[in-house]
Symmetry: D2
Subunit: 136 residues, 4 copies
């Protein structure tokens, strides 16, 4: 059943042209917890060879929205968020893991940790917090 | 001379593969104020036909970095930022305008407003604030 | 009339026991722009003799709420905010100036700059951004 | 020994006049995790009888600083933070629990959850994230 939920979330993700352009996958779901994964390729980098901060902000935004939508059981958007970049993202894979800290009748507050996998070793590279609101 | 500054900033932007993938241009510079512009195309959208929040967060991140770098006269990265999405971004063009509110010896705090142009009418769609730090 | 608006806002502020404890005054109002002022005294400081960051965060929170309430024409609360402290607040007076960047049917996004006056010279010491929502 | 650490942290807190004015206590410490507690009294409230958002922001700021200082083993200040208020704080006691998600050579990123205790029942009322930097 969890595989079925992941498949449905992946289907939603694939209705986002920008997520297709980047290559994001839904890789885990459990309650309001969701993991989005994104293989690193050169196109996602900035001038120093690290993943661009904008890619990490995209992953934060999207994983927060998914987590909030799971908690609110509704179509949602992220209305605001904050992200701290803590380490250059160098490696082969990104995992963004979001969970909902609070959900009410119309909005949720979720947090997200983004990890980069480099040579099989996973390290925290960003941490985010944001508000997710129902759109319908 | 301002055109020369813009050309140099555009050159820096073009060393970012992710900015090339998205199609961002440096369109104005004046003191620590910088404007990045990005033509909207389908690949940048989410499932409702609006520009993906991750694209706006990328523009905020990048314009904050440019503004801070102009104030700090150094290579810089954005170490953290916060963005509020205030309106769905629907239209043909995005303009992100950042300026530095404070700069010290090693870091700056900058703000950014992102506008969407739809049928020639420009509207605010996001507002951001962040910290920019020297990398060297 | 502006003096009348200020008097009414001051009256609202005085229904907040915490604002009375701190000693905050409404000193300017113009459209959605509002200025709250707070004389610095020892009780508001931290261990290094600067104004405590919590006092600045309180001023940000409160001035954002007032600005949003002026734009939304409703009772409001700040639902979230972000603050950057840019300089130690040393001096005799604080001025928090907030204005609304966007207001919709149920919420507003406002920004705030906090200045400290030291020997008659005013300097930026914090900058904030937040969401204000109607409560009724 | 943990009691000794708490006593030393409490001593530091008591060098902050603003924390004495409010009545904050250090109630737990474990690694980089710290809990600050604040009994609710009328002076800390806003006009609707809830704890003022500025008090919660103060607790977030202060607990983030303490957590970062424990991780960085240095005197520290919070350079920026973001707070989401998720529920009106009504009750008799506030507990702010902060922990450090990342610490480097000169700064740390920490998160904080603030709970209100009402009739013995504890509920989340705010969540925060911020950057803590060494001051010496």
């Amino acid at each position: 059943m969890n595989q079925d939920l992941i498949a449905r979330a992946q289907h939603t993700l694939e209705t986002q042209p920008f997520s297709i352009l980047l290559g994001t996958k839904v890789t885990k779901m459990d309650g309001s917890e969701v993991e989005l994964s994104l293989p690193i390729r050169d196109e996602l980098k900035q001038q120093h060879g690290f993943v661009h901060g904008g890619v990490l902000a995209y992953l934060a935004d999207n994983s927060l929205t998914f987590s909030g939508a799971l908690a609110l059981l509704s179509n949602c958007v992220t209305s605001e968020m904050k992200i701290n970049y803590v380490r250059p993202a160098i490696g082969e894979m990104l995992h963004a893991r979001a969970k909902t800290a609070y959900s009410g009748s119309s909005q949720a507050v979720a947090t997200c940790e983004i990890y980069v996998v480099n040579g099989g070793v996973e390290k925290l590279c960003a941490i985010a917090q944001g508000t997710i609101v129902k759109t319908s």
